[in-house]
Symmetry: C2
DNA sequence: GGAGTAATTTAGATCGTTCCAAAAGACAAG
DNA sequence: CTTGTCTTTTGGAACGATCTAAATTACTCC
């Protein structure tokens, strides 16, 4: 039962060639004759050979592995991001190491170290909350290409791919203002992240532009989750002057806000306008369909992967910060007419 | 900038010992003297040494990598499963290769092959729909420990960890019957999976046990997603004799069913009883909170990982099929009283 | 048939670690 | 001072691929 490992030497013997030739066949070199190649491939199949990447890797120091580190995989946004990365990376012949940090910096340090030991040729990181440039310094110093995604870190000196959070928030708030809202809340999210800061700034700027002032009590932080949304809206509705609309930190919060509204017998969309951020898959099929700022997580994952692969290919490219555009997708949760909702559900 | 790689030999030189000693220190052997160990560790830190697992791996043929293959990462259930696996696997000093097949068997074949090339010491697989025992045969023959999770495959000859889908469905339907429902639908899911088959059988058995017959038109399949749930309930409500309650294939479908009910101005829980399956995190915080059969995906991931690690440790254990128990969690969507809903939201 | 060129093939060193067997040192007992 | 027992340390051969430079074979054209 304990089968001996089949190696290139075994195949070489079986096919009557040298191991060098087998190696050439394995890497698809065009140097080798058609008949020889066929013979070798036949032996490979026959003996059930499994390529040993550790060995190859040892010799050539480039591994066909890329690592992806996300801060919270149970959040649909990041899961989709990972799927986008996976798609691109796989079709380029790479395989991905995925690790979840659960927002723990210590864990993040561990997984990054582990990935370096495995010789990843590049790393896509959505950093845990509170990650400092110093935390990434050893990684960056090693010269491994790194792309930060979603959350940028000032002074880290690596490429980043973020979404235009400021513009998205501005667009959302403008839309609410156009629909006549005057008391607009900003709900959910942790205030210590760059993403929160940017969205919040967009919210303030758009209100200022409309000549509205920004009452502090209308900015209510919470966990960026569905449960957090429920508590945030509860708090908002206890104010003496209640808001009539809210821009939410992300879609999860927005769903929570809808839940909280229903709990008070208010209908999201009709009685209170809700706008989310991210456009996760569920946003479209929820009832009411969620108006949200589309960030296209899967697309972001794909672009991040492409950027990383380019850097891996180019050896050493200098860091670039890409801000990908977003667009407001108007659906029903902000008060748009409701008649054709079911039609919008994809088949 | 192009730094030379630091190897054990460099450290040996710096610390004034042989590379064998350095190697012993690296593996934490107790054979080496305390002072020597300290000297070596100092040099390691000083030179910024990074362990090369490919090299180690080449020599000792056991890799500290386990692979996890899931069929749909964008589904919260599987993302949570992956997180559970990750937690256990990491703390055992392993790292996980995660790949998403998106229910494509061809892709599944590719990623499994790729994982074997990387020398994973074990594999946790939630197989894509339609996977046959034959698809896994080469993998199984190689002797790598494999644990199938969520979906078992008859005749594959490997261990599996599934949930007690039959018992869960029975409990759910019994509950609905006790609450007085007589026309109970089974909504969503693809009929060609073992999971569907088991839940469905539980549904039928419980109805039979209550002396109710099972009208074919009340079993309505659909994609196991939120969108699928919307279409399934639409279809159910077009019947001449409408159901008053439904057991859904999973939570995503159940949420879709709630959406679809609202679209018809029916309140889930009050006007129609809905029960889901899986108990994803959102089930608790949704409004109305979803009554569902708790499967605890994260816990399943953890148990699957533990089972796999045990098999890796034991060399060759024989296949065992573990069915993990489930329990019905009664919340509001099946018509329970509604007053304390907000209290149940976790802080 | 031989020179020149192009197409294939190959021996052998090499990558960075672990393992084995054996050597070296330390110490106690005779 | 030898011998024996422990504790530490070590050289050198693996592991399974790739790479380099050189060797071999095949072909073309006088």
């Amino acid at each position: 039962m304990a089968k001996e490992r089949v190696t290139v030497v075994d195949i070489a013997r079986a096919a009557g060639v040298s191991k060098s030739t087998v190696s050439l066949v394995l890497q698809g070199s065009r140097l080798v004759n058609e008949v020889t190649r066929a013979k070798v491939n036949a032996s490979i199949r026959e003996l059930g050979y499994v390529y040993n990447r550790s060995a190859a890797n040892l010799r050539q120091a480039k591994s066909k592995i890329i690592g992806i580190v996300v801060n919270d995989l149970t959040n649909g946004f990041f899961a989709e991001l990972a799927v986008g990365v996976d798609a691109v990376v796989q079709s380029a012949g790479f395989v991905q190491f995925l690790a979840n940090t659960g927002e723990r910096i210590e864990r993040q340090r561990e997984v990054i170290a582990s990935m370096r030991e495995h010789g990843v040729s590049g790393l896509i990181v959505s950093p845990a909350r509170g990650t400092q440039a110093a935390d990434l310094a050893p990684l960056v110093a090693s010269g491994i290409p790194v792309v930060l995604v979603v959350r940028d870190i000032a002074g880290a000196g690596v490429s980043s791919l973020t979404s235009d959070n400021h513009a998205g928030a501005v667009a959302a708030v403008r839309h609410l203002v156009e629909r006549g809202h005057r008391r607009i809340a900003f709900l959910g999210g942790f205030a210590d992240t760059a993403v929160f800061e940017a969205r919040m700034r967009g919210y303030r700027d758009a209100l200022g532009e409309a000549g509205l002032d920004v009452p502090e009590e209308l900015v209510i932080g919470s966990a960026p989750s569905r449960a957090g949304g429920v508590t945030a809206i509860e708090q908002a509705m206890m104010l003496k002057e209640r808001p009539t609309a809210a821009l939410c930190f992300n879609d999860a919060v927005a769903f929570g806000v809808c839940d909280g509204l229903r709990a008070r017998r208010l209908e999201p969309g009709a009685d209170f306008a809700v706008i989310g951020f991210d456009d996760v898959i569920e946003a479209k099929t929820a009832v009411p369909a969620l108006t949200t700022v589309s960030v296209d997580p899967q697309g972001m994952g794909e672009r991040a992967a492409e950027l990383l692969l380019k850097q891996i290919g180019a050896g050493q490219a200098d860091a670039q910060a890409i801000v990908s555009p977003v667009r407001l997708v108007v659906r029903q949760s902000c008060g748009a007419p409701i008649e054709h909702r079911v039609k919008e559900v994809s088949p």
